[in-house]
Symmetry: C2
Subunit: 498 residues, 2 copies
């Protein structure tokens, strides 16, 4: 696979000087056109040490306007990073739409290194590559252009380079202490790299193999590819017709029974008994959380529900069981402009809890398939794709060991009306009731359909939905705290068993 | 000082129920008015354990709209937090304008705890309080309303509370393992608290002493104070007239000599010699940085300079001396909306480097006293205050052990014109030249005056300015890399000596 990149391609200085001016200009123009486009460009530079990853990154910054380029390189994760799923730190620095991100030592680095050093077996390696492919697909589905360059050197060329640097007192510092060790592993790295390139090469996120021995050649090869890819991606994305915003909810389907039909709203006990049960469950959760905190097990609780279903009150009762510094409540409203300039899941990634902590989301990533679907803020292709994106996202969370609880607080339309009227008539509650609430109420059947689809498509064995009858606030609160405690208890159980 | 908060103040349930509805309503109204105002509210809840800090935080969230309240509590810092100045983590979660931030265990916690446990001597304690006062002043100068509540319990009341909780199986979990130890330290904590309250009580950031034994009383006391303070702060900030945007640069002063007058632009060596020196200095810096990285010494390099002074090229030469993952380049342009909703220094705090890493700022916080001053984006009171704010900010950085290098790249007007024309005539450089550049050029004398004032007011012994003659790009690059290396070398020297 790599022999084609060991043939000694090179470009003389004169040839380089002849092509550079025009290439630079065209790159600058492509970058300017990109700024008006609505997608980010992600450039991944991987390869053999010394094949020019750093030099190419520098050159791209020199040739184009560096204010619109984000360059990142990664080393061992910090403890904040280790406490989140591995992709967290890459999410944190993805380029915004209209910008270029250059990643040296990217998400490929750890799986590649580990496999090349035989630290991870094939199954684990394939699993990592599968996750990476899903990550990249999610970005390219959102419009991102991903260009991945494997900068190659033969083992002989790598050796020659190291010897040349060591001989020059001004360059010797570039030879890192472990450089010769890395050189020895060359054949293993190449074998692992071959698997990476075959498994993760897709039309939307292709790999390009670049011979890295000659500085002129590799610069022009990468620059030309970047120029052409940006150009054609701009054309493609401009010609892609936005499909209609028809939400696909045929009115005839509105009166069919759904997963919400016939949920039993009878409170299981008296109000007094429920209040006592709530305190018992809070005490139980508090003690479980103390163990979870010590063991570094995190919890994410996502609340969705009808307007006035009692999310706020339930969240407070739940949060009371945690130490204040261990829990964060994230109300999810309209995204900020920094958030709008990223993939829609980005704002949830940035709020993932630390090890042993809990994050409570007051409304969640499911807005994509609820309000954005019903109100037409997301196109059908977008919200239909979101089910898969959400399942993948939650899979990564659960895989990382996070306890994920998803709650739908269900009330009947009559109960909602009663609560709306109560809010309207109680001065210090009136702010809770907005015109939006009345408008949403009129769309009850559309929302019910969306909830049905959501539960159907995203209630998985690893990340199930819990439908909470909430006509009785007290019963709902007990069930919610108990559900979180139950799930945490079994995670603790699994952790001590494993 | 605390005897007034040990007198047994309480409110019966009936009295509480009588006042609560109106208080709630007024708090909600105050919060709504706040959302249209242009300042944040910061509520600090400190005090004796069990005096209701958490309950009051919950109640404020229940009484008001929690979507516009950020509640934070802190415990031991993470390694990412330890690697930055102590205030970094508080900066990271300051509320935006129009929102309320509730801080339990705030920036007061560590100094207070350490002093109460006699871990820090008086000088260190006073020093911490001085830094806190400067931090709060910077926020209140920017319009923030800071309300600090000391929730108090006598030692006897604290004992009674712990015994009561322990006796109730449903409440016993609230007694933390170290609760009785904390109880024993009560007198020490109160002594330290007295000093905190006297040193950091200001008109703009006052302390309120609240007796915390009775839940009804403390809730109404805090709620009332929050309501009144927000109300009157809105009135005050609305009546505060924005002063004129006159920049104070009398034209008569424009032709006086400045610190930039007569900077010697003669290159100290031939181009060839300079190129070699650059490589030598890069190698030197790379080796120094390897030691700095191992010892956790961070570097911040701030670049300012005339348009076309060669910042970009110099930054690249400097960055080449670092491992890619150890250096981040931050181009500073217009702030995002998340940044605009915060104190103007917030966006620099969020970019502070980790221990052992380097951050290079392509334009810096000095924009406040340069472009914002000259173009009238900041009012005179704002940019004049900024000198102090900047000195304080840099003092915190240097105190934390960060190597801070501030560079002004100076070229003559003739040289600038030559470079502008070169850019205009070179296709791949044309993007670098904007209409703004020509406009700024016309204001040269105003900018020169601003630079003079900036250097005069902010070149301190701990954070000096370096004026770099940059008519010769090669000479400038050598001087820049050498300056950073020199400063890093003396920091390493100090670190090994201390």
């Amino acid at each position: 696979m790599f022999r084609g990149a060991e043939v000694g391609r090179l470009l003389s200085d004169d040839d380089f000087k002849a092509v550079e001016p025009e290439l630079r200009l065209e790159l600058v123009q492509a970058q300017q056109a990109l700024r008006d486009a609505t997608f980010p460009v992600i450039i991944v530079l991987e390869g053999i040490e010394g094949a020019g990853q750093r030099e190419v990154a520098n050159l791209l910054n020199r040739w184009m306007d560096p204010r619109f380029i984000v360059t990142r390189a990664y080393t061992h994760p910090t403890d904040e990073e280790r406490e989140r799923p591995e992709l967290w730190r890459y999410w944190a620095s993805l380029p915004e739409r209209g910008k270029i991100g250059v990643f040296q030592r990217s998400w490929y680095e750890r799986p590649l290194e580990e496999h090349a050093r035989s630290r991870s077996d094939d199954a684990r390696f394939e699993d990592a590559l599968r996750r990476i492919a899903a990550f990249e697909e999610l970005l390219t589905d959102d419009g991102a252009l991903i260009l991945k360059f494997w900068m190659h050197l033969s083992q002989a060329a790598q050796q020659e380079r190291l010897e040349r640097l060591q001989a020059d007192p001004l360059e010797a510092w570039r030879v890192r202490p472990d450089a010769w060790e890395v050189w020895e592993r060359h054949p293993h790295l190449v074998a692992s790299a071959e698997r990476v390139l075959t498994r993760t090469h897709t039309a939307a996120a292709p790999w390009f193999l670049i011979e890295g021995a000659d500085a002129n050649y590799r610069a022009v090869a990468v620059g030309t590819q970047v120029r052409d890819s940006i150009r054609s991606h701009i054309q493609r994305s401009a010609s892609r017709e936005r499909t209609s915003t028809e939400t696909g909810s045929a009115p005839a389907l509105a009166h069919q029974p759904t997963l919400l039909t016939g949920i039993d709203q009878t409170p299981p006990a008296s109000k007094k008994a429920l209040k006592r049960q709530l305190r018992e469950q809070q005490a139980r959760l508090a003690l479980l959380q103390r163990r979870a905190s010590a063991q570094g097990i995190s919890t994410i609780v996502g609340f969705q529900g009808w307007d006035a279903a009692g999310k706020g009150g339930a969240i407070k009762r739940l949060a009371e069981a945690y130490e204040a510094h261990e829990v964060r409540i994230h109300p999810i409203g309209a995204p900020s402009d920094e958030e709008k300039a990223q993939h829609w899941l980005w704002r949830f990634w940035r709020r993932l809890p630390r090890a042993g902590h809990a994050a409570i989301f007051d409304r969640t990533w499911y807005g994509r398939v609820l309000v954005e679907r019903v109100e037409g803020f997301a196109m059908p292709t977008e919200w239909m794709r979101a089910y898969t994106e959400i399942n993948h996202f939650e899979d990564v969370l659960v895989e990382h060991g996070i306890v994920l609880v998803k709650l739908w607080l269900h009330i009947t339309p009559d109960e909602q009306l009663r609560r709306f009227e109560d809010r309207r008539n109680t001065p210090w509650k009136a702010w809770k009731l907005t015109d939006d609430d009345w408008r949403n109420r009129e769309k009850w059947p559309l929302y019910e359909r969306a909830v049905h689809d959501m539960v159907e498509r995203t209630s998985t064995a690893r990340a199930p939905w819990t439908l909470v009858p909430a006509n009785s606030k007290h019963a709902a609160r007990v069930q919610i705290v108990r559900t979180v405690a139950d799930r945490l208890e079994s995670a603790l159980c699994r952790a001590s068993a494993g």
